[in-house]
Symmetry: C2
Subunit: 303 residues, 2 copies
């Protein structure tokens, strides 16, 4: 099953050097999530041949323009494309008010319903379906801002078909997949461990942008297969990161290392840097399995 | 002196086929006016090497997203670039409320002042300086919408230096330029017509988007050197133009012809058309001096 992240934008505050504002699409098993939606996101979606109509959930981390100004245009384009199915938008307090005001003045009555879900610090699980859930967690920025953790639920154990007894019922089958022992018609308990293999791993993706370095996040993003963490500045400019509530390369890589994640992707680069190669050198010095968020690139997590 | 229009975006509702949402820059004698500001305008400004810092006046025709959604991002980038000088924004009622709400939630305190000027149907002159003025006029769209006419004031007459009498004072000089007769020390009235040539023409540019065809606009845009008029649809699709309050090629060209303008530029093309060449064929059949609004193109009016 698919678990794929696509980068649509990787630059911070001012778009520059061909880099657009933050946006990403995460696909988990056919469910498409749009994470942040900077200005021009709908153009990037077209450019990289993503499918607007497949997106049913949009998550906005915070209300700085470079993370949400593309949202009204996107909502409008969905409307003009004839969308009927509901759209759910998760964002900090204020987002619904902003969108509603803009739709009011354009006298737009959408032909599909939008449900706004306001992110709260004490309500971590914001979405779940049969095979995954999303939690939101506060990060440390100048205004209220949230990170997101996407995690597959525990998967069914794999039945070793050649060992399955003839008398096993469909209930036995489901019990074994769920890791429960079964009982034979003669009353003998048979351990699920002898008839099944461990489940495939439950994959996870953590998104942390924008934030000051938070070492305590290592428990939240622990062992995520994929961690996106902002690295707005090179480490020599740590004073700028401190004053603007952003992170540096070394800080992002340190979190990745301490949380023992699988792969680190850094992004949200400041417009002051044209050449990003020093970013990669710095993060790899701490956490070798790191990559730059490059627009149009896909990052897959295999099962 | 410069009188130059640059197209930054030419598509309607949904950006498509590499065409962006509406925005233009008009430069008249070093004053830079941004006309409409669809999503992604700041990227287009960078792409076409226009200078963000030179823009002191932004005019928004109406509050459909494809004409103003790039405004908050642009305001924010001006702030981040260290702008100090004031910015004046002209737009329909509601624009100030939308922008102010977004700045509130991003907790942005701009380091330069913005003055919002609300467009009203009965207050046509919205800006003037020593050499030009702008009037706003209502057009016929689904929501309140304005066109703009930029017009140079009458220019000074050109003095024929070799005919100027030795006794002429600086006051005489100014009177002649203003088209007034002067009096010699001996009391003789000398006609300004004998000492001056007619002034250079006063150039004008009219912007009409978005609107249903309004034949009565011909008096408003009469003899404009340059007329931009929306032509969202080919004429065979006039029923779509009628229901969505837009215009067709033939309608735009008819207005240009009846108003005896110098040149017609059409834009605001529907995303349903990839190939624009039929647009040009249709407008030229009525008004030969027509061009398509092509992004990055400059249209100059000579003196």
């Amino acid at each position: 099953l698919t678990f794929q992240l696509t980068i649509l934008g990787s630059n911070s505050a001012i778009p520059a050097h061909g880099r657009n504002h933050t946006s990403q699409i995460l696909i988990i098993n056919n469910e498409h999530f749009l994470i942040d939606c900077g200005e021009g996101t709908q153009l990037q979606i077209t450019k990289y041949k993503c499918r607007l109509g497949r997106i049913n959930h949009i998550l906005i981390s915070h209300l700085h323009g470079d993370h949400y100004l593309g949202l009204v245009g996107l909502i409008s384009s969905m409307h003009l494309q004839g969308r009927k199915k509901p759209l759910t938008i998760y964002g900090p307090p204020g987002l619904a008010e902003i969108i509603t005001l803009q739709l009011k003045y354009s006298q737009t009555v959408l032909n599909y319903p939008i449900e706004f879900k306001e992110l709260q610090e004490d309500d971590p699980v914001i979405f779940q379906n049969f095979n995954m859930e999303i939690t939101a967690f506060p990060v440390n920025h100048r205004i209220p801002c949230f990170g997101f953790l996407f995690k597959e639920k525990v998967k069914p154990r794999k039945i070793i078909k050649e060992k399955l007894p003839d008398w096993a019922t469909s209930k036995d089958f489901n019990d074994l997949k769920a890791g429960k022992d079964i009982i034979s018609p003669k009353g003998k308990v048979i351990s699920f461990k002898t008839l099944t293999l461990p489940p495939k791993k439950s994959r996870s993706y953590a998104y942390c942008s924008d934030t000051r370095f938070m070492p305590e996040l290592k428990t939240v993003v622990k062992k995520a297969d994929l961690l996106y963490h902002e690295a707005t500045f090179l480490h020599e400019n740590i004073q700028w990161a401190e004053t603007t509530f952003h992170s540096t390369t070394i800080e992002a890589a340190t979190l990745a290392k301490e949380a023992k994640v699988g792969k680190l992707i850094i992004g949200h680069f400041s417009a002051r840097y044209k050449d990003l190669s020093p970013f990669l050198v710095e993060v790899k010095s701490i956490f070798p399995n790191s990559e730059l968020a490059i627009e149009g690139n896909h990052y897959e997590v295999s099962e």
